[in-house]
Amino acid sequence: MTTPIMTKKIRRAAVLAGLGLGVQLVAALHWTPATFILSAVLGPPLVLAGGVLFLVAVWKNMKDKGAV
């Protein structure tokens, strides 16, 4: 069962992952040395941050339920 807080965190994770992919999409459409570097520096870390936030949210939820 989910809590509103967990849903909020998962949505934040989705926003971060989406932003990471969005940055890379913008760079892919306007490909220059600068945009490539920006996409490499911002894109994967944002995606990773989203993934980690999601994992933390699930972990906390499972811990609260005593599943872990």
Partner: protein, 201 residues
């Protein structure tokens, strides 16, 4: 612009993330739903990012990428000068290097971390272009190593049997005599400025 396939993949990835954003409440309550969220919010975006970066790194070795900065236009033109002794022109016009990565073929060390060093130098170039300012005279960061020439010419008959090379072969291999001490003109900028080009018209 990157290839259509890369752009489509990124668009689909974003669409999936958006779908999971709106379906988060429904999916997070079930185990299978959480696995779907894991795949859609972590695995897939990471995979797409890795693919994108990997393709980007490959693209950053292309001639087109190097010449996209205005300060490299003259060097790009130097590939077409009418001078058989100019190294860049001779290699490009005789197809001695891949035309898709002509700059990278010579301006990348072939040692273990040659690629890494070349990419880091690329960061310096971008910094100079956007922040520090392009120097009036564009020069190499360090003397050109013989090993870069020898990577291709090492066991070539014309190199070994060349009358000018024979007496100094050990010094060339050791790097104590630079290839550029005789092959002095790498990019013939004088001919670029004089517009003396070969078959470029």
């Amino acid at each position: 612009m990157l290839p259509l396939s890369a752009i489509v993949a990124l668009v689909v990835g974003i669409a999936i993330v958006a779908f999971l954003f709106f379906g988060a409440e429904a999916l997070a309550g079930q185990t299978v739903g959480r696995l779907v969220l894991l795949a859609g919010l972590l695995a897939l975006p990471l995979l797409l990012s890795l693919g994108n970066i990997s393709y980007g790194l490959h693209e950053s070795s292309s001639t087109r990428f190097c010449l996209s900065c205005h300060e490299m236009q003259r060097h790009g033109k130097s590939l077409f000068v009418d001078n058989k002794q100019a190294l860049a022109a001779a290699h490009y016009q005789n197809r001695l290097v891949e035309r898709e990565s002509v700059c990278y073929s010579c301006h990348k060390d072939y040692a273990m971390f040659g690629d890494v060093t070349a990419k880091l130098n690329g960061l310096r170039h971008v910094w100079a272009h956007y922040v520090a300012g392009v120097p009036k005279k564009i020069e190499l960061y360090k003397p050109y190593p013989n090993s870069n020439c020898l990577h291709c010419h090492d066991d070539a008959r014309r190199f070994i049997d060349g009358p000018a090379h024979r007496p100094i072969l050990p010094a060339l291999y050791a790097g104590t005599t630079s290839c550029l001490s005789c092959h002095r003109v790498a990019h013939d900028m004088a001919k670029v400025d004089a517009d003396e080009l070969w078959q470029a018209h």
